[in-house]
Amino acid sequence: MLTIKILGSGCENCKRLAWLAERAVNHLGIEAQIIKVTEYPEIMKYNIMSTPGLVINEKLVSAGRIPSEAEITTFLTDALERA
């Protein structure tokens, strides 16, 4: 199972990223847990300077933008191969 973290204080962009990640997970039909990380000390552990951030299995894959669903799907399948 994959662990997906959405890093961000809960602004519009973070909500949209969470929504896209959920869609990508559903379309792939995989099991994943989506966690929203909203506290800054926790967010800063991933060493990002712009939100939203996307973390899959503790690996940061994007920061400061909303990747497309297709891109997120690629991130997810890459993570599955590595797992």
Binding site: G8, C11, Y40, P41, M44, K45, S62, A63
Partner: protein, 348 residues
């Protein structure tokens, strides 16, 4: 230094370049025909009489809407391409080890080209402070980034010409440099929330490698996002502006918004505070007001206040700044904007 996975350069790259070329061609054609088209619609298709107030307002509206939307999409695309070459991480690296003074100037300049959204103000602030960048330099960046707003810049260019657009950049930079420098001199580090100083993240930054195709895709994404968000405000505001253009008598506003009305600058700044994030909707109205006698300094102060003094941003920054510092931050920006307004009223 860790790198994000390289995004693949798919065989669709050629298709992307063709689309850009086609888009550019369509843009150029549209830019050539919008004005004759608007004239033809008003006087040819609708057969409205020349020199009437209605036809003048309508012609103004039908020409300005496509003009601004075209300029907005074209210039946001170019600005967004430029911005893919600057990341907050790179900006932080450039600012590291710079003294105050030169650091403030550089931070303000980088504030224009670094992609920034106010929701990222906190991680950015923490990232800068943690890298040892002085507080005043960090503030110069945090003032310049939202104040020199790309949408406002494009609209000023479209409605007033390049001189006023350049003036807007110059005053935004000046405010950011001076306000940041002054805040730096106060030595207010103790008013930064304590948790900020305790955060320890690994020192290496994450830098992404991008292909040209990625840059184009992102710039196109930015155009779609911004235009879909602001077009309705622009259309409504241009309609109001067109109404003012046709129906308000010349020089009607000299008395209340002209140079002689000294109180108009601070009042304009106060009115601008609750209008945050709506620079797009304000500028066409401001443009019409200037035409009717409002002075330029007052109008510039108003626009600066709309973009720079925003309540949501204050709430976001409260997470890292204690109230005392937040008040100093916004007061210094407010005073700098008012002084800039007086300066332009005086020299223009």
């Amino acid at each position: 230094m860790t790198t994000l996975p390289q995004l693949s350069n798919k065989p669709t790259a050629h298709k992307t370049y063709w689309l850009v070329a086609l888009g550019a061609l369509a843009w150029i054609i549209a830019y050539q025909i919008y004005e004759p088209l608007a004239e033809w619609l008003v006087y040819g298709a609708f057969r409205l009489p020349e020199d009437s107030r209605l036809s003048e307002s309508l012609a103004f509206f039908l020409a300005d809407v496509p003009k601004i939307l075209l300029l907005l999409s074209g210039m946001i695309f170019i600005i967004s391409i430029i911005r893919t070459f600057f990341s907050p991480e790179r900006t932080r690296a450039l600012l590291g080890g710079k003294r105050e003074g030169i650091g403030n100037v550089l931070a303000a300049a980088l504030g224009i080209v670094t992609p920034f959204c106010s929701c990222s103000a906190v991680p950015l602030f923490i990232g800068f402070v943690e890298a040892g960048i002085p507080l005043g330099v960090t503030f110069s960046f945090l003032i310049a980034a939202p104040t020199i707003n790309e949408v406002a810049l494009v609209m000023l260019f479209g409605l007033f010409g390049w001189r006023i657009a350049a003036l807007y950049i110059a005053s935004g930079l000046t405010i950011a440099i001076i306000a940041g420098y002054i805040i730096g001199q106060f030595k207010l580090e103790r008013f930064v929330e304590d948790f900020v100083w305790k955060i320890q993240s690994s020192a290496d930054a994450t830098i992404e490698k991008l292909t040209w195709e990625n840059r184009i895709e992102r710039a196109w994404g930015a155009v779609r996002e911004i235009v879909s968000k602001v077009w309705i405000y622009i259309v409504v505001a241009i309609a109001i502006g067109a109404g003012i253009h046709g129906y308000v008598p010349q020089d009607a506003l000299v008395g209340i918004m002209g140079k002689q009305a000294w109180w108009s600058v601070p009042v304009a700044v106060l009115i601008g505070i609750p209008l945050y994030s709506n620079a797009a909707g304000m500028i066409p109205i401001v443009s019409a007001l200037i035409e009717k006698g409002a002075s330029l300094g007052t109008a510039l102060a108003f626009m600066m206040s709309v973009v720079a003094l925003s309540l949501p941003e204050a709430i976001i920054l409260r997470r890292v700044l204690k109230p005392q510092l937040l008040i100093v931050f916004f007061s210094v920006i407010g005073i700098a904007i008012i002084l800039t307004g007086y300066l332009f009223n005086w020299i223009m």
